[in-house]
Structures are given as structure tokens and as C-alpha cells.
Symmetry: C2
Amino acid sequence: MMDEFSFIETIKQSTYKQSTLIKGIGDDGAVFRNRSSDIVTCVDTFVESVHFSSKTMSFFHVGYKCLAVNISDLCAMGATPTFYLVSIVIPKSVTNEELTELYDGLHTIASNFRMDLIGGDTVSGEQLIITVTAIGYVPAPYARYRSDAKVGDYIFVTGTLGDAQAGLEILLHNLDVDHKEYFVTRHRMPKINVDFIKNLRTIKRMVLNDISDGLANELNEIAESSCKTLLIEDAKVPLHRYIKQFPKEKYEEWKYYAGEDFELVGTVAKKDWDTVVQCAEEHDITVTKIGEVIDDPREHGSVFMRKNNELIRLDKKGYRHQIGK
Amino acid sequence: MMDEFSFIETIKQSTYKQSTLIKGIGDDGAVFRNRSSDIVTCVDTFVESVHFSSKTMSFFHVGYKCLAVNISDLCAMGATPTFYLVSIVIPKSVTNEELTELYDGLHTIASNFRMDLIGGDTVSGEQLIITVTAIGYVPAPYARYRSDAKVGDYIFVTGTLGDAQAGLEILLHNLDVDHKEYFVTRHRMPKINVDFIKNLRTIKRMVLNDISDGLANELNEIAESSCKTLLIEDAKVPLHRYIKQFPKEKYEEWKYYAGEDFELVGTVAKKDWDTVVQCAEEHDITVTKIGEVIDDPREHGSVFMRKNNELIRLDKKGYRHQIGK
């Protein structure tokens, strides 16, 4: 195994992309200066045999995805990603080549978004564990809070739902299906739409959540934070045409309760809906209106789904990671 | 074990102390706004049976120390701690009571320094692992870089060295010595002098490093970053009088190569030395001048130690964590 002190040295950038960075890796801490934007931070931890295994991901994918999920969180706050810090716990079994591959994954997605690595720690341990802290900038007042939904808002999602779960099932059970690569890539390398989020900054108020733990869970978070009732039309929730080859009861479950699609769900005033649609078109993203924020004082904080003219309460039951070895 | 989703909820603060915080825990990320200071970040990971074990630390101490080491890094950058994010990997064997105790440790030191917890992640895993990302503020131009040492600077350290290592040895080998509690506390609950650092902001240029991996290692980092030669007087390196009960060859080794004292080593212009001494007195801290930055163009980036009129090169050989179960 590589010396625990040297890994961060080997992945240290020789040049930095962000002009607000004053001091990168190489002191007791990094220093940056931003006098105009607000600063957003988030952290996510990736554990071997909980979030991934050698069956589901290569080291490259592990590196790629653990930064992707943080970028997704920043986007859901309306922020542009700028910096990240990474802490890696490395078991003895991991080779230098595998570590380098993991770094390639991190570096590839970081480069795509011009993010700089500004800190890290590497220690030895029994399981491979990666913790990424990501930092982004958002000019006030464009931070997107869950608590900002208002009655009359349209509820929308980007892309299609359940695809990442389909990809995971394919990997775990060696399923032989059509368009395998599409689903597997959705699981391993979530696409994050940073520019889309940036260009939505003409809209003053909007709610965004990234769909990491299932649409039902994210909708409930918006409903609770905003103290509003959310009403969804089941038939509108977008599914990819490829997913229909799976059993219906599967993908109908996945669209609400499967994790890691890293699409966005949000709410926006009716008057701003056209702007969202237009912006999505420019970035080659599909957005779908799936419901409305309604006025129901008895049920503040709840989510309902209309299916075949029946109203069903959509519970929070979130996605639980459990991959195993 | 506690539900992995609920731990961060249970430790979420109901009120926040920092006025620059806009949004704490409860969205996809936290948001803060600081238009006047520079922002410093650092990250540190604590692994069971590498950095601590049940023999050396209670859960309270683990929580306390993993934030303390980050506060120490911020101080060494000249920054005032403000926020932290914590990611915890929790094995099944850990009880709710133990987790609560760990949190008490985190919370105790966070409160002392008015730090707010603004993000976190909890996941299950095989080993107890805590990763803390800390954020601090420093008004320009008072960030303290390793690269700023100048010829003629005095080199100084705070406190006494080797005490934390003595504490660790006492714990690992059940040593029966006098003033046991003093040493053990030095290992478990490092004292960080945030106000001292703050009040030194009348001095425009100074170098600071926290002594986490041994004085020899930190001095070499300053020498290398500044491209200067550092000359230390061995007899001046401060030892606590209690430590002299240990074998001489032990504490003579510890003062240069033992880790985790979390004292500060720095350099400062001669003209500013009195200010440092006075400021230390006000905060009841001892500072000791141990050497000078000298002009030796053949040996830029090196550290020498004078002992019995002999010059000895002080190598970088850093402290390696290895505690075992």
C-alpha cells in the first residue's frame, strides 16, 4: 500500500483553476477569498460494501461518483462547485494502481467542473471509505431552499427516474437486458447539470432538491420544510422508455423509492415555468411538470399522488444503501 | 445501532452561534456569507485502532479530539474557527449511548469556540471513523503561511513538547508515574489557544505551524516552504518539569519526533518578538524562543539543531500513528 502520508501529495494539483483560491494544499489549511458570493458546503461519505463494491464499480467510478454526489448537492442549493476536500481510508489490499484509478475518477469530474482539490487526509483502515467535502459559490439571493415552495408553484423533475436503480440491479444480479450500458452508466456516473442551474439565476425564487434518496423522500422534505401540500400526478412522473422492459411493479416502485438518480426535483412559480423549460432546452435537458403545490391547511407538510383518480399519500420511506460485498 | 439517517438529526443544533450562517443543517448544503474575511478549510480523519482505541480514549475524548485537531490547524493558519462538518462511520457494535458520548465531546469543544455544526453524514461500516472538516475566518492579510519565514526571524514554540506522547505511553502500557492525569489529558484533550492567535493580529507577518507530527517535521516544513535554513538550540526546546521522570533518551526523542502535542511553532521578526511574549502572557501561555532563521545559501530548506556545540541536521522523520486495538 502507498504510504499514508504520500497519497495526498501525489494527487496535489500543480495549478489551480479557481481565481478565488489564495492557498491550496501544502499548509495547515487552504485559504480562499470571495467577497461577492455566498458559500455553500456539503459532505458525503462513501463506504465499500455499503455504497459500492467491486461488483458494481471500478475504482475510477468510485472516485467519480463520490464527487458527483456532492456536486449534485451543491447544484440543488443553486451553487456552482468550486472546491473539494477528500479524506480516504485505505485498506492494505488496495494497490497503488487502484488508488491512482480512484484519483483519475475524482480528477476527471473535478476537471469537468473546474473544481480544485484544496485539502485531504489519507489514513489506513479496514474498509475503503471516501469522504468528500464540497464547496460552492452562489450569488445572493439565488440559493435554492427546500422551504421556499409557495401555493400555486409547479412541481417539476429533470430527466427520468429509476434508471440508476435499474443499473444497480443489472450489476448486482448480472441481468441481461437491452441498453445495459445506459442504465449502468446512470448508476456509476450520474450526470450533473451545473450550467443549467447557473442559467436559472434569472428566476428569483425556486426550490431545488436532488433526488438522492428517491422522489417520494425529496418531495416530503420540500413539503415539510415549506409547510405546504404537494400534489403529484402519477402518470406524469417521467420514465425512460428503456425501463419499460423491466417488470412494471419494479419500475413503478423505483420511480418513487429508488435512490441515486441525482436528477433534480423543484418547484417554481407558474409565471417562471416557461423560463425553466426554455433553459432546459438550451442545455438539452428534459424537464417535466409533475404536479402543483396546493392549498390544503389540514395537510400541511404532506405529499399526495393522484393515480387513476385516486389520491394516495406518498410516504417518506427513503432509499437505503445496502450493497454487500 | 442508531439508524444511520437519524444520528445527524439528533445532533443538529436548534440554534446557531455564528451570525454569518444563513442556512445550517436541513437542506442539501449549508450556506454562509462573509464579505470581509478570507475563508480557511481543513480536514482530518480519525480511525479506530490507528488514532485511538478504547484503551486510550473514551467516546467523549474521540469526539473532543477529532474537532480539536482541526481547530489546531485553523489556528496554525491564523484563523478563528467558525463551522464544522462531521462524517461518522459507525460499526454495529457502537451503542446509542456511546454515540451520544462522542457527540458530547464534539459539542463541548465546539461550544467552547462558538463553532456551529453545519453538515454531516452518518453511515454504517466496520470501523469507527470520524472525518471532520473545519472552516474558519481570517481577515486579510493575517493568514499565517509556512512560506513566510525570513532571515533573522526568531523561531518560537508555545508550551512544552513530548507531553502528549508521554500520555499515550502511560495509557498504552499502564505506566505508573507521577502527574499521570496531566500527561493523559495532554494526549486526550489538546488545549488550543484561539484567542492568543486572534490577538496576534497586530503583527503583519508571522509563520505558524501546529505541532501535530513532531517539532522536527514541522520545522522542516517551514524551512522547505520558505526556502530558508532554520537553526535550533537544543537546550532551549521547552520540556515540562514533570516529563523528566521518564528516561532521558525517551523525552529527548519525544520533543522532536512525538506527535499530537498541538502546540504551535512559528517564526516572527525580531522587532515583533516582544509583542508575542506580551500577548502570550495575557493568555497565560508560555512562548519560548528556540532558534533563528539564518542565512545559509548552501542549505536552503534545512533544519539544524545545535547540541553541545555540535551542529546536527534535524531530519523530517515524522510521527506515525499506530495504536492497535
